[in-house]
Symmetry: C2
Amino acid sequence: MTKPQGLHQTVYAGAFVHSTDLNELEICENGAIGVDEDGKIAFVERNVEDLNAVVEKHGWKSPVLVRAPDCGFFFPGFIDTHIHASQYPNAGIFGKSTLLDWLETYTFPLESSLSSRPKAKTVYTRCVQRTLSHGTTTAAYYATAHAGSTNLLSDVCLQLGQRAFIGRCNMDSLAPDWYKDSSASTAVDDTRETIAHIASIDPEHKLITPILTPRFAPSCSSELLTQLGKLHAETGLPCQTHISENIPELELVQKLFPQYSSYADVYDAHGLLTPGMVLAHAVYLTPKEQALIKARDAKISHCPASNSSLSSGCARVRTLLDQGITVGLGTDISGGYSPSVLEAARQAALVSRHVAMTDGDAAKLSVEEVLYLSTKGGARVMGLDAKVGSFDKGLEWDAQMISLGVVPEGGTMGNVDEGPVDIFGWESWDERVAKWVYNGDDRNTRAVWVRGHKVHQKP
Amino acid sequence: MTKPQGLHQTVYAGAFVHSTDLNELEICENGAIGVDEDGKIAFVERNVEDLNAVVEKHGWKSPVLVRAPDCGFFFPGFIDTHIHASQYPNAGIFGKSTLLDWLETYTFPLESSLSSRPKAKTVYTRCVQRTLSHGTTTAAYYATAHAGSTNLLSDVCLQLGQRAFIGRCNMDSLAPDWYKDSSASTAVDDTRETIAHIASIDPEHKLITPILTPRFAPSCSSELLTQLGKLHAETGLPCQTHISENIPELELVQKLFPQYSSYADVYDAHGLLTPGMVLAHAVYLTPKEQALIKARDAKISHCPASNSSLSSGCARVRTLLDQGITVGLGTDISGGYSPSVLEAARQAALVSRHVAMTDGDAAKLSVEEVLYLSTKGGARVMGLDAKVGSFDKGLEWDAQMISLGVVPEGGTMGNVDEGPVDIFGWESWDERVAKWVYNGDDRNTRAVWVRGHKVHQKP
C-alpha cells in the first residue's frame, strides 16, 4: 500500500486525455493541470510550450511537478458503478451457471463466510488494492448482509484512499436460511448501523458514502422495500440494486410481485426509483420501463462481462443512451470475471458488436464512448459529476497516469515489463488510445490519485 | 530474447495440467516429467512422493531439476492456428469496421509497408517475442505478399525458437494495385521462393514449416487457386486460408465464383479442401459445407475475438465439434485485438455463451474445452498431435510454467507484481485453473519451452 502523502500544489504536465462528451475524447498532447492543496484542479492549460510561464501565470511558487511518460498520458480515474467486493475471490469461477443457480452455488456460500472478520479483512483489502491498481478511483460496492464486515469494507476503503459507496446487502426473502436478514426491521437496523459507522469515520463523506442496497426485488419482502424507500427519502442517501438481468429472474419477479406492472414498477412503487438509484444490468427492460426510468432519472450500470459470462443477455446500451438515460459501467465482480473497468470498457465495446450483429451497426460503441461510460458516465451515475470524471477546473484530482510501451528499432523486448501495449511510433494519438483500450492492463496504470492523494504506484 | 540453452536431461517436477480429451483436463498435483536430450518426454510420473526414487527408476543420473511454483503448474504450450504476424502493429485498431472495409482501411496499407525489411524485422521480432511471452509455442503465421520479408519472418521464428508455419499471402485478385501479386505464376514463384528459403534454414522442418496461403477466395483467381492446389498435392505442405467470416464476404464469393455450389466448394474444386487445410473463421458454414469439410477432414481455426471485434458473427463451435470436425483457436491478429491464446480461449468461452443465448445451453464451452482447443485441438489442426499438445511420452517438450499469485493473510499486495490472478488458498485445483483462464495473462507465464529449449523467461 502507498500511504497518502501530504498535499502540495502539484502540476501534472504532459499529455492528458479525457471525455468532454459521450462522443468526444479530448486528447491534449502538451497539457499542464494544476492541482491545489485541497486536491482540486486549479487550472487546465493546453498547448503548453513553456511550463515555467504557465506556473508563473497562475502565481504558483515551486509546485511539485509530475510528468506523464513520453508515450503516456493522464486519464481520469475509472468509476466502477457496480462491484461486489465480497465476491472478489470468486472472480472467474462460475462454470456454466446462470444467475439464479450461480447465486446458490457460488455466491451465497462465499458471502456468508465473510461473517468472519479476518477473512473479510483479507478479501476486502485485496479487492480494494486490486481495483486501485486497475485505476478505479471510485467504486460502488456491495458488501454482504453482515453489518460488521460491511463496516470493515468502509474502513479499508478509507484507509487505502479509494472513493467508495458501501452497501450492506438487504435480503430478507428467497435466500438460504443461513444467509439472510431475519426480518425487514433487523435489515433496516443493520443498515442504519453501517450508515452510522461511516458517519463516525468520514462524517462529510469526503471519500466514503453509504448506499442503500436492496439486493434485488426477489430477495426483498415488500415490507423491506417499503422501509428502504422511506430510509432513502429520509436520508437522501443513494441507492443501488439489480434489475432485469436474466429471463428466469424476470419471471420470478412477476410471480413474487404480481400486483406491479413491471420489474421497474416494483422499485418505483416502493419509492426507490429516483435520481439517486443505480440499477445494474437492465438487459431486458421493456420500452415502458425505459420510459419510467428516464422519467424518474434513475441511473443504469451496464455490466457487459457479467452478462456474457452468465449468458444473461445483451443490454441495449445504444437504445438506453438514445433515450437520454444515464449509463455507466460496472465490473460486477464476480458475475463479471475481472476487477478492471478497462476490461469492462473493452467488453462493452465487444458486447455492443454482438448487439450490432442483430440490431445493426448503430448499436456499436466506439472507443470514445466506452471511455466516456467508464469515467464521466460513471460519475453521472453516482451523482459525482460535479466532483470527478474529467479534467475540469474545480473538480477533484481523481486520475491515473498511463504509460504505453515503446518498441525500439529492431523490435527486441527489453528486460523490463512495460506492459502489454506495443507502440511502434507511427500510430496517431487516437490509435494509441485504442490500443490501450483493447490491450492495456494494470501494468499501464503507473500511478493513481484520489482527491490529489497518490493511492497507488506500480511496483 | 532468451538464447536456447544446450539440452540436458531435465525433470520438470510439481503440478502439471493438460488435456487428455475435449472434456477432460488432467490435473496432476505431484508429477514428474522427464525430458531427454532431444527435448522429448521420456517419462511422465504421477503421485510422486520421492523424486529421487523416480529419477533412479528411470536410470537418470543428476538431471537438471525444474520445479513448478507452489501455486503453479506446467501446461502445454499454446497453439495459435491463425495469426497475421504482419498485422501485429494494428492490434486494437479497427474502429467500427467490418471485414471488407477493415482490409482496405487498416490492413492492406500496413501489410504493404512491410516490403521494408527493417520495418518487417521490427514488427516480426516483436510479434514473435510477444506471442512467446504469452505461451504460444506454435503459431500458424500469415506474413505478407512479399517473399523477402516472409523469409525474414521464418528467420526470426527460427532464431527465437518458436515452432511456426510461415505463409506468404497469395493474392492476385481484388486487392489494391499497390499490394497484390502481379499474376498467378509470379505468386506461385514467390511462394516457391519462401519454401526454398525454409528448406535452406531448417531442412527437416524441425521448427519452421512452409504453409501454402491463398489469402481467401475473393483475393485469388481461379488460376491461382488451381496452381496452389497442385503445389499442395506436389509438396504435401499444409495450407491455410479464410472461409465464411462475414456476410458481405459470402455474397462476394458467390458473385466471383458463381459456378461453385458453396464457399467450401470453391476450395474443394481447386484441390485445397484436404486434411492439410486450416480454414479460419467458419462462422456461416451451411450444414452441407460442414459435411464436406468433415468428409475431407479439413480443419477449422476458431477466432472468437476477431469475430466479435469485426462484428462478423458467432461461429457455432459446438455444432462443428459434434460433427467430429477438428477445431483449434486462433488469435487472428489484428482482426482479433490480442496476441494471447489465453485471451482467445477466454473469448471462445464468452462467444459460446452468446451462442447459448439463442441456441441453448448446450452451446457453452467449458474451461476444460477451451483449454483443449488451445492446445491439443490446435495440435490436431496443425497436424502436430504426434509431436505436441499434451504431456505424453514421446511428445516434444513444448510447455509453459504457470504461476498464480497467493494472497497472504490480511490481503496486502506486496511489492512484486505476481500477475492478475489472486489465489486465496481455499480454491480447488479446478477453480485455480478457471481463475487463470478468466483473469490470467503473460505475467502468469513464467517460462516457455519449445522442443526442450527455453525460449522465454519472465523478466
